[in-house]
């Protein structure tokens, strides 16, 4: 049973398509990186998977059940702006969580809150630091005992220590309960060690979908003379060229031709290559 | 800490036992700090360590409770920024209804040392259309415009508070690239605060690490990490140690 499947999903806001013809299927128990440029449709996709936004076209299903405008019981969602009742204390907020859920583990919430350095349970949420607010929001999300955890920019606004602490909480959840996690982030450095699957979207369409290592293995970075690109085999993703040198990111590349050096890209250069290609597409679309 | 033997007037920031107290307590305590010229400085620390306070004191928006701080030898007056200092706040405050050209004109009207040609050049380089409204720009483009506005006054010290938050990786790289190129070309001292240590690596050559209102570590990265530790590791290591010290 796949945690999340999208079939030709599209979402239009007035005249603009935020997500278009998006199809994918996520494997269970993985940590999925949701990547893409600003405005590529990542948040919309997550909000649709959380049942907050209804797709204009197509269908999403969670653990085999099609979504019908409300959240699936096995899904938890961390929204980007961390919506919490700011006037409540942490303790009261947890009680609200218990009141609003059929399945709720107060123990789990306590456990997660205990992982972080000293959150006062009687402090009002509005007095907490950004890092603590995120961690409280994650604790609330985990209290639902989800099997699919959707995180929209879980690490934004966090200082380096809180970043690590938060990642540890999420990874512990994966280790303990085999939860499938989908997280979007702009900071590739945060994702490198924690993700084993990636989903790269651009202008609402899926560009890359697969196991990180497999995806990396399918791509090559070739560096060679700028004059002679005709001998290179494979599907060109993007290229940067200086006066003498071309650096090409290729998918399903053939062997490096004479005079070219090839290597497997790392996650950074792969994502950057795709983002660069997307920016060029957009720029040329604007021009023409 | 060793203070380079240079006249104070040449130092972008020179703080002597500076403290700042708010109603809820000390945000910065007895801090002595030198920011040497021509550096790209990483200002790092956990939330609440005093980064924003230090920036506020440098811009003159805040007055120190104790001690003194000078910017190129002058004490910030609080009546507007020092002419040689530019500051870019995290929210990148720009008038959304202005066009990019309006924004630059606004910069020209409010800054005596404005270099219109240079600002236009920066916008052009970023491929942002001059007649576009600021409100319609993408995050990366808006940051580039804000940067052009900050650099257009030809500062010698540029303070950037989390300039790259909420930019995608590509925009991050291009913005940072443009920033460093300009800083190097014109000898601008840049102070960059960020939570993402990885993006400061290879960019910053000087580190100021704050913790709990005090300077934990300050100096050139090459000197601080003699054993080949990267800036990120170095900072994280010290932050972790300091946090454990507090907890114990």
């Amino acid at each position: 049973m796949t945690p999340l499947t999208a079939t030709a999903v599209g979402k239009r806001y007035r005249t603009r398509w935020a997500v278009r013809d998006c199809s994918f299927s996520l494997p269970e128990g993985k940590v999925v990186a949701l990547l893409g440029a600003n405005g590529a449709g990542k948040s919309t996709l997550l909000r649709m998977a959380a049942g907050l936004v209804r797709p204009t076209t197509g269908e999403l299903s969670v653990f085999g059940t099609p979504l019908r405008g409300r959240i699936h019981p096995d899904v938890s969602f961390l929204a980007q702006n961390r919506p919490l009742y700011r006037d409540l204390t942490v303790r009261e907020l947890v009680r609200v969580g218990a009141a609003m859920n059929d399945r709720w583990s107060a123990d789990r919430v306590r456990e997660v809150l205990a992982l972080q350095a000293g959150v006062d349970h009687d402090a009002k949420v509005r007095t907490l630091s950004a890092g603590s607010v995120t961690q409280v929001a994650i604790a609330m999300a985990l209290g639902r005992l989800p099997r699919l955890l959707l995180l929209d920019e879980p690490l934004a606004d966090l200082d380096p220590l809180a970043r690590e602490e938060t990642l540890r909480i999420i990874m512990a959840e994966v280790a303990d309960r085999g939860t499938t996690v989908v997280m979007s982030s702009h900071v590739l450095a945060d994702l490198r060690e924690v993700c084993d699957h990636m989903l790269l979207v651009d202008e609402g369409r899926v560009q890359v979908d697969g196991d990180v290592e497999e995806v990396l293995a399918r791509h090559r970075v070739l560096v060679g003379p700028v004059t002679d690109e005709s001998t290179v085999e494979g599907e060109l993703v993007s290229a940067t060229r200086t006066q003498r040198q071309s650096t090409l990111l290729l998918k399903d590349a053939g062997p490096a031709p004479e005079g070219w050096a090839g290597a497997e890209p790392d996650l950074d250069s792969l994502v950057m290559g795709y983002l660069r290609a997307s920016r060029e597409r957009r720029a040329s679309a604007q021009r023409g | 800490m060793t203070v380079p033997r240079q006249s104070e007037a040449a130092l972008p920031v020179f703080a002597q036992a500076v403290g700042k107290k708010y109603r809820r307590g000390w945000a910065l305590r007895e801090t002595s700090l030198v920011i040497p010229p021509n550096r790209v400085v990483a200002l790092v620390g956990p939330n609440g360590a005093g980064k924003s306070t230090l920036m506020g004191l440098t811009t003159g928006m805040l007055r120190p409770t104790t001690g003194a701080l000078t910017v190129f030898g002058d004490q910030p007056t609080g009546k507007g920024l020092h002419p040689a200092v530019s500051y870019l706040a995290q929210q990148k405050p720009l008038y959304r209804q202005f066009t990019v050209a309006d924004t630059l004109t606004f910069g020209g009207r409010t800054n005596p040392s404005w270099d219109q040609g240079y600002a236009e050049h920066l916008v052009e380089q970023a491929a942002v259309p001059m007649n576009a409204r600021v409100g319609t720009l993408s995050g990366g483009q808006r940051t580039r415009v804000a940067l052009a506005l900050a650099l257009g006054k030809r500062p010698r010290l540029l303070l950037l508070d989390e300039p790259l938050a909420d930019l995608d990786p590509l925009a991050r790289e291009t913005v940072l690239g443009a920033l460093i190129t300009e800083a190097r070309a014109h000898g601008i001292t840049v102070v960059l605060s960020s939570h993402v240590l990885a993006e400061l690596e290879g960019v910053c050559d000087h580190l100021v690490l704050l913790h709990d209102g005090q300077v934990l570590l300050a100096g050139d990265v090459s000197r601080l990490s003699a054993n080949g530790m990267s800036l990120g590791e170095l900072a994280l290591h010290h932050m972790r140690a300091a946090q454990q010290g507090v907890a114990a």
């Binding site: 940590v31 540890r168 990874m171 280790a175 450095a189 060690e193 084993d196 | 054993n227 590791e233």
Partner: protein
């Protein structure tokens, strides 16, 4: 908490994948005699607590070690080392070769060599004695 015998150190800047780092570190610990037959490797959860890496990666590394026949997963109990790679020459702080290398390092340091010098010397000599094609 009683953790396993070893603790992994994940270097986020090395460019080597997390999974390979874990595999290497287990192999190295086995060679040095820090891990011997019957020792339990830290559980994925324990590694997560220490390093905040993806537990799937840890499990993948253990599977790789299992494939190599070095460890064995026992359902519900954990992953256990089944072999010893340590020899008298490598295990323990007072193994003769180690002591010899220690003396060498001491004189290198006295001679004013820095880490890079030592690394360069070491790998040059190593490559002399162990040509690349012989190494697996």
């Amino acid at each position: 908490m009683l953790t396993g015998v070893i603790e992994f150190r994940i270097d986020r800047h090395s460019g080597v994948s997390t999974y390979m780092q874990i595999v290497h570190q287990v192999r190295q610990a086995m060679r040095l005699g820090l891990l011997t037959s019957g020792d339990r490797l830290p559980s994925a959860r324990e590694v997560v607590d220490a390093t905040a890496v993806n537990p799937n990666t840890v499990l993948k590394a253990y599977r790789e070690l299992e494939r190599e026949g070095l460890v064995e997963g026992r359902r519900g109990l954990g992953t256990f080392v089944t072999k010893s790679l340590a020899t008298e020459a490598t295990a323990g702080d007072d193994a003769p070769l180690r002591r010899e290398l220690g003396r060498w390092m001491g004189s290198a340091r006295e001679g004013g060599l820095v880490v890079e010098d030592v690394d360069a010397l070491y790998s040059a000599v190593r490559d002399e004695h162990y040509p690349a094609e012989e190494r697996s």
